[in-house]
């Protein structure tokens, strides 16, 4: 089967200073597959995702390599074509839901804007599908939520709204960049449940995280990033059971706090 997304030798560097940020990253993603990207802060996880989505300022960053999505080279699209692709075929869920929304604009209006810029829908029918999606994600009080400003809602609620937005246009690929890092354990659990439902719907995902638990729950394949390059890749079971690289072992050890208690 042809891969949905194929990234080949992607490199990103700062133009002015000539500092490399991401170097020679390659991976493939099949339809309905979940790829986990793990690494410390500053390892280039987020930059890779932003590069693929064309969200980097080309005056500041230079990109090389290829990224093809359904056979289309993403780096050759015009900004307008890219914008139509984002939101329609590929959507992104950001790390911090509190800053991802426009603070002076009610949530409902922001959702409408996104939906109606991609689909020719009347306000009423757009509203209807938004409400249905919110309800599916377990947000019952939809009218109140749509009439609220982002600061009036909790982080977990906003993150669900962002996921609802990401799902509204039935994309082929969702990129979740540290989507649960800012949330507490219980909300994280609920959001991860939503993600496993998305997997069942056959949507491919890239999950960026520094939490191995998130990968253990969701990922099929894992790439481990360090200083802008991939140090290890493999099936999720292989990575957890027999990591080959010292760096992966170190990360796994650091994330497993409980083990050392039983030894102590």
């Amino acid at each position: 089967m042809k891969p949905l997304l194929e990234v080949n030798n992607l490199s990103i560097s700062l133009k002015k200073q000539g500092i490399p940020i991401v170097e020679g990253v390659s991976f493939q993603l099949k339809k309905g597959q979940i790829l986990g990207m793990i690494g410390e802060s500053g390892s280039g996880k987020s930059m890779t995702c932003r590069g693929i989505l064309g969200l980097l300022d080309t005056h500041r960053f230079s990109l090389s390599g290829t990224a093809s999505f359904q056979g289309q080279n993403l780096f050759q699209l015009t900004p307008k074509e890219m914008q139509m692709l984002r939101g329609e075929k590929i959507t992104m869920v950001m790390q911090n839901p509190m800053t991802a929304f426009d603070p002076v604009c009610k949530v409902g209006r922001q959702m409408l804007e996104t939906l109606r810029s991609h689909r020719k829908l009347s306000k009423v029918s757009a509203m209807k599908s938004i409400k249905a999606e919110l309800e599916r994600l377990g947000l019952a009080d939809t009218q109140r939520i749509m009439d609220s400003y982002p600061y009036e809602l909790s982080g977990g609620m906003l993150q669900r709204i962002m996921i609802a937005l990401a799902l509204l246009l039935s994309p082929e690929l969702i990129i979740a960049d540290e989507a649960t890092t800012a949330l507490d354990v219980r909300t994280q659990g609920a959001i991860l449940e939503e993600f496993s439902k998305i997997r069942e719907a056959g949507i491919a995902m890239i999950i960026v995280t520094h939490n191995f638990g998130v990968l253990a729950k969701l990922a099929d394949e894992v790439v481990v990033l360090k200083d802008g390059g991939i140090v290890e890749r493999g099936d999720v079971f292989e990575i957890f059971d027999k990591p080959t690289q010292g760096y992966t072992k170190k990360l796994l050890q650091a994330s497993n706090l409980r083990k050392e208690i039983s030894n102590a």
Partner: protein
């Protein structure tokens, strides 16, 4: 000993549509922290953990109840006496970047409590700072830098150094490692465990991560919506938690390995 007796905190919430209402953030909580021991407090966002921490650290006055430190109610002291108390009672916040003055160098930030709370000569001050900086494993060259030139892990070390330089009896860590990634988090937690062995203080770790709580302490409080629901002594593993809400928190943790995926 730090003892919290029937403490309550209420906020008045003003809302255009609904008018004023009273929101109870911390509701009738009592707990005791013994000297030279380590405690942890877990709960979801909005459960009142931080409000409780601020009241215990003599930052925020409670609506009702009293907080006794070695028998004295810290909220009945005069502001001047309370200020002197600071040397023995320190709070380390979550957002270490926000907790440091951006205009001050690392040295100046750590110097601040020493200057204000002890009568030390300049040389003694300098010696104390160098000692504490070495203990928290910060390089000396960082002392002349400003907070924005440091990484998140280094910033949290500076905050820890600043709280520790007076060797306080009680330190409250309010989500002090939550913003850090796993490797840095582990390093900071190990550092705190070592510091506790050395200073013999009483530490209260506030976190939403049960793994962190278990790693740092074996006496764990569980909070929900302002109430203290569960208190577990000798908590060595998840099995120690009996309360249904604690079980619920544990159930929502992501699995440790893909083999346990449901």
């Amino acid at each position: 000993m730090l003892e919290v007796r029937h403490i309550t905190k209420q906020y008045t919430v003003k809302n255009q549509r609904k008018g004023e209402n009273v929101f109870t953030s911390v509701d009738d909580i009592s707990l005791k922290l013994k000297p030279d021991s380590s405690y942890a407090l877990i709960g979801e966002s909005g459960s009142g953990k931080s409000t409780l921490a601020m009241m215990m650290a003599a930052v925020l006055p409670p609506t009702h109840g009293e907080i006794l430190m070695d028998g004295k109610d810290i909220w009945k002291l005069t502001p001047k006496e309370r200020r002197r108390l600071r040397g023995d009672l320190q709070l380390v916040l979550q957002n270490s970047k926000g907790a440091l003055d951006p205009r001050k160098t690392v040295y100046q930030s750590i110097e601040e409590p020493l200057k204000n709370l002890c009568q030390l000569s300049r040389e003694e001050q300098q010696r104390t700072i160098y000692e504490i900086v070495e203990k928290v494993q910060l390089e000396k060259s960082l002392l002349t830098r400003k907070p924005n030139e440091l990484s998140g892990g280094q910033q949290s070390r500076v905050c820890i150094a600043r709280a520790m330089c007076l060797s306080p009896k009680f330190v409250i860590f309010d989500e002090s490692v939550s913003g850090l990634d796993v490797t840095v988090q582990k390093k900071v937690l190990d550092l705190l465990l070592e510091l506790r062995k050395e200073f013999h203080g009483t530490y209260l770790f506030i976190t939403h991560d049960i793994d962190v709580a278990l790693y740092m302490s074996d006496h764990i409080f569980v909070m929900k919506e302002g109430h203290l629901l569960d208190e577990v002594q000798n908590a060595l593993s998840y099995d120690a938690f009996q309360h249904p809400y604690s079980r619920e928190l544990i159930a929502s943790l992501p699995p440790k390995s893909p083999h346990y995926r449901l």
